[in-house]
């Protein structure tokens, strides 16, 4: 191996660095970190038990005892929101992780093998893409019963096209690069090139894409909980907490507004973070590719 090739390879590797986040990126990262910390340390932070109520203290006004008041059965709203961060984050995390676990190998195989393998994989993704994710999840809960497990599995499958398509085109671009040819000449196997080098190089893209997918997964999963198909009450989840219609109709909107604000702030922060991780202002093509991810 000549020194020049070695330098070229090393330079490609060193290129894997997170782009500067900028002011808005740091604000978004802080917001996300706070939510994650709240979820991790929920038992320490929550002033009350999220599931035990006191019927005598139903719909208490916000105050020293209950920061955000209580709900219809006298449960502390702030504590339920803090505990709700757990399911609201764990669900989307599982969806994105599962979808990457299936999508990344599928995408790498498609980009590397090409031919009929790529054709079959592309067609499969196209068909999946043609069914709205929410509908796939609703059907899955119809078949396997309502609950977090069916919803998470279904959404992981529904999110495959969004993850895989972008990785396929990035991997195809990488494949034509000089350093891949250099490695091939050295006798490196396709498996080692694609996992040790290509995957490293497209890691920032995957990170950015996963951040945005996480936000959409949070929306979809909370929507399913709102429909009563994913997280089941009395368990606290932002989707469940934001769907307390009875409280709203009786004029007690604190819980619904607070849960809504948490969803909006978290989703918005994830979007900003995703855009900054991509290291560029979002472009038209990027948006068309994501196509709203619904």
């Amino acid at each position: 191996m000549t020194a020049a090739v070695e330098v070229a390879i090393r330079r490609r590797r060193r290129a894997v660095r997170l782009p500067a986040l900028g002011a808005s990126g740091w604000v978004a990262l802080t917001a996300v970190a706070l939510v994650v910390l709240a979820a991790l340390f929920a038992p320490l932070l929550a002033p009350h038990d999220p599931d035990t109520g006191n019927l005598l203290a139903a719909y208490a006004r916000p105050g020293a005892a209950h920061w955000l008041g209580t709900d219809a059965t006298g449960r502390d709203i702030a504590s339920r929101l803090i505990y709700g961060a757990r399911t609201s984050l764990l669900g989307p995390a599982a969806i994105v992780a599962l979808s990457l676990l299936i999508g990344v190998p599928l995408a790498l195989v498609s980009a590397w093998r090409g031919g009929w393998v790529a054709f079959v994989i592309t067609r499969m993704l196209d068909v999946l893409f043609a069914i709205p994710g929410l509908l796939i999840a609703i059907l899955a809960t119809a078949v396997f019963g309502a609950g977090l497990r069916a919803a998470v599995l279904a959404l992981a499958v529904a999110y495959l096209p969004y993850t895989a398509r972008i990785i396929v085109s990035a991997a195809e671009r990488e494949r034509r690069q000089e350093y891949v040819r250099a490695l091939t000449v050295q006798g490196a196997s396709a498996l080692s090139i694609s996992t040790r080098h290509v995957l490293r190089n497209i890691a920032p893209l995957i990170a950015s894409q996963s951040t945005v997918a996480f936000a959409y997964a949070l929306i979809d999963l909370a929507s399913l909980s709102f429909l009563g198909l994913a997280v089941q009450p009395p368990e606290a989840d932002w989707g469940v907490l934001a769907s307390d219609r009875d409280a709203v109709l009786q004029g007690h909107s604190t819980q619904v507004v607070a849960a809504s604000v948490l969803v909006i702030v978290t989703v918005l922060s994830l979007f900003v973070l995703g855009a900054r991780l991509a290291g560029e202002r979002p472009t038209v093509r990027g948006f068309l590719r994501r196509r709203g991810a619904r």
Partner: protein, 314 residues
């Protein structure tokens, strides 16, 4: 162009075929046999069960049942509800109207606010652009169920301007009852459309032919109309089509939030009752609406911009 349409139509039919198989097959996988719903907690004698299974066609092999179902669907016969024995097409016609009205209302809002705000921020750089961009970013992070809860709490409960639940009679009643649902449904999509509109329009404004047109002394109004808008229409149409198509799935959430008896409400209640023929029919209808609207948007984009034909067809 004809070749493109034919190719797109072929892809559409293939997708619909696979999707119909998935929709039918998914329900087939459900644990418990479909006829059990009818018997409730009283297990029937084996003879009665066999007779019911034969009556419902459940004793035939899966592929045969799928083929019969698909053939019937192609003729407009969507089957019969297991619960009410009513024809599914009769059962869904009223809810279908509610959902269509809701989606149409939301689509109008998306075109007006999405494209309008996008153009406004593209053509008016500075403080207007910054404000609109901020509002648009917020909108893209507002899921329908969140918007629905916030709008209900403010406009329906506190101000009492709109009903919070159900559908009032007459055209005016529908318009009033569907306003909050349509806005809830439209917010997130309008944000996405506005953002794409802004970026696409900015890109065209920065291109050489617009500079040339301005240098030739064309008025700003004329330049924008015949050079900028014409060229930014492709991506805008494409994203709008996709967003409007996705409204059919999003409507499920909004109908539930506002107690509207649309397809979404019927889908959820049919799932709870395990009325699978109705579930299959609605799922197929929603997928078809999504796929067809997307294809229509693609064809319109291709008609507008020959370059897009090869890009979209791939």
């Amino acid at each position: 162009m004809i070749g493109f349409v034919a190719k797109r139509l072929g892809g559409l039919l293939l997708t619909l075929f696979v999707a119909s198989f998935a929709v039918y097959g998914a329900v087939y996988l459900a644990p418990g046999s479909p006829e059990s719903v009818l018997f409730g907690s009283h297990p029937p004698s084996p003879e009665v069960r066999a007779a019911v299974r034969h009556f419902l066609g459940l004793d035939r092999p899966f592929v045969a049942r799928y083929a019969i179902w698909l053939g019937n669907v192609a003729h407009g016969d969507l089957g019969r509800s297991v619960i009410s024995q009513q024809a599914v097409s009769d059962r869904i016609s009223a809810p279908l109207n509610v959902t269509l009205a809701l989606v149409a209302y939301a689509a109008v809002l998306i075109v007006i606010f999405g494209v309008g705000l996008g153009l406004l921020s593209a053509l008016k750089p500075g403080p207007i652009d910054a404000t609109v961009t901020g509002v648009v970013s917020l909108a893209t992070a507002m899921p329908a169920f969140v918007t629905a809860a916030l709008l209900t709490s403010f406009f329906a409960v506190r101000l009492g301007w709109f009903p919070s639940y159900g559908l009032e009679a007459g055209f005016g009643g529908w318009l009033r009852s569907l306003t909050l649902p349509a806005v809830s449904l439209a917010v997130i999509s309008s944000g996405l459309v506005a953002r794409v509109t802004r970026t696409a329009t900015r890109q065209v404004i920065a291109s050489d032919h617009v500079t040339t047109a301005e240098a030739r002394g064309l008025s700003r109004r004329r330049t924008i109309r015949s050079h900028v808008l014409r060229n930014s229409a492709g991506p805008v149409l494409s994203v709008t089509g996709l967003q409007v198509a996705s409204l059919f799935a999003g409507a499920v959430v909004v109908e539930q939030a506002f107690g509207l008896n649309g397809l979404g409400g019927l889908l959820i209640s049919s799932i709870e009752q395990k009325d699978f023929p109705v579930v299959q029919a609605i799922a197929l209808l929603l997928v078809t609406a999504f796929v067809v609207l997307n294809a229509v948007a693609d064809v319109l984009v291709a008609a507008l911009d020959p370059g897009a034909r090869s890009a979209v067809a791939r």
